[in-house]
Amino acid sequence: MSSVTEIKQVRISLTVNGERHEHEVEPRRLLSDFLREDLGLTGTHVGCEHGVCGTCNIMLDGRTARACLLFAAQCDGAEIRTVESLGTVDKMHPIQEAFWEKHGLQCGFCTPGMLMSAAELLERNPEPSSEEIREAVSSNLCRCTGYQTIVEAVQDAATRIREQANG
């Protein structure tokens, strides 16, 4: 191929946090940048931008994925959930309450990814062991807490979700 191939914009239609969006994107637009800059959803953080740190974790069709390793162009038809889907300051999700209560964060930079990893774990395994929690958050780098309080927060979140479900 010669380098004169014209780079076409890609038209995508996707659901983000329950809302339908239609956009034209440049193929190289990373999903992390699309979410933050095109949709203004800055809850998804951008750290290493090569898939190592996990702070850009989002849910793609129900499973976590690194938003920095996806192109928005690939997400036509996808259902995306970001950290904004969990709760608000006034009405926090039980996982967010637990992270607050158990000091599961200090600087907060890793927190969006941690919350999404915790959400994926608890959706699939409502009563995880601490070993399973460690495994689940092992792909999210936190340089503040030493992880102990994060593990406790996820354990506490599991209890809160179960209690909520039991009314």
């Binding site: 780079i7 974790n57 976590t64 994925a65 390793l69 690939q74 994926e120 495994e135 792909s139």
Partner: protein, 289 residues
């Protein structure tokens, strides 16, 4: 940290894939799970002019038994294999090695075909395929060819895939009765790439080792069998002394050349000795059907 501009293609059939591959030639790269290629693109270590997204090709996403073989479609996600009862039953070595493959978020997207075509020398699956003497099924406009795993990995990030070809399927022999296996790895953290890893299978009959296969990862520019260590086991009774001898040979006759800040040559040689010993011990223990 942004990829350079590229043209995006998303074929909806295997014929469509071959067509766009033919149209763009070597300017194009195939995008599967993107867990290795996209980081390289973000760093601009890879700057393809065209990206061919194969994520729509569900015909490359399967796990099935074909007679004596376990066939896995190239686009099968790591976590699907990780959770597969069929893989656990038919290839305990692959199932065990998968416990060391990346983290759950990466495994949600990453694919076995992407992993093997990327050919990272520190990755677990290439060593597993070599140890099990699996085959890679490559497809092109000209047809299909099978490449033995031992001839597939040519160097770091280098494989036998030719221009115009893509990896369509991975075929590994189903575990035979009486064959034991084990996968041993040391890595900085669970889920990280290996500092050193050893895969082993042993076929034992009446206390005598009939066949031994040992493969290392993260030691050289590509995974490889340690045939001199295999040779001292085959035809022998597998006692502790024999296993120690094989481990000693694995360490002394392998020249670690993949050196990084996680391990120098001496350390990797020590790991080879320890991991070979552990893998052989466990493989001999679990060889009883």
């Amino acid at each position: 940290m942004k990829p350079s501009a590229f043209h995006y293609e998303k074929p909806s059939s295997l014929d469509g894939l071959l067509d766009v591959m033919g149209k763009h030639g070597e300017a194009a790269r195939i995008l599967a799970g993107g867990q290795s290629l996209v980081p390289m693109m973000n760093f601009r270590l890879a700057t393809p002019e065209v990206l061919i997204d194969i994520n729509g090709l569900s015909e490359l996403d399967y796990i099935r038994q074909d007679g004596d073989s376990l066939s896995i479609g190239a686009l099968t996600r790591h976590n699907v294999i990780y959770d597969s009862p069929l893989v656990a039953e038919l290839s305990p070595l692959m199932a065990e090695a998968y416990k060391h493959v990346a983290h759950t978020t990466i495994r949600n997207r990453g694919t076995i075909g992407g992993n093997l075509s990327h050919a990272d020398p520190s990755s677990e699956l290439p060593a597993v395929c070599i140890c099990l003497e699996g085959h890679m099924i490559l497809r092109s406009k000209q047809g299909t060819r099978e490449v033995p795993a031992g001839e597939f990995f040519l160097g770091a990030l280098e494989t036998a895939i030719q221009p115009g070809e893509f990896l369509a399927e991975i075929k590994i022999p189903v575990r035979k009765p009486g064959v034991g296996s084990a996968f041993e790895e040391v890595s900085p953290r669970r889920g990280d790439f290996a500092t050193t890893a050893v895969a082993a299978t042993l076929q034992i009959d009446g206390g005598i080792c009939q066949t031994a296969r040992i493969a290392h990862a993260a030691v050289a520019d590509r995974p490889a069998r340690i045939e001199s260590a295999e040779a001292v086991l085959e035809g022998s009774a597998l006692d502790k002394a024999r296993i120690n001898q094989a481990a000693e040979i694995a360490a002394s006759e392998t020249e670690p050349s993949l050196i990084n800040y996680h391990g120098d040559a001496d350390y990797k040689r020590d790991l080879l000795r320890a991991l070979t010993k552990r893998a052989l011990q466990r493989a001999s223990e679990n060889s009883v059907n």
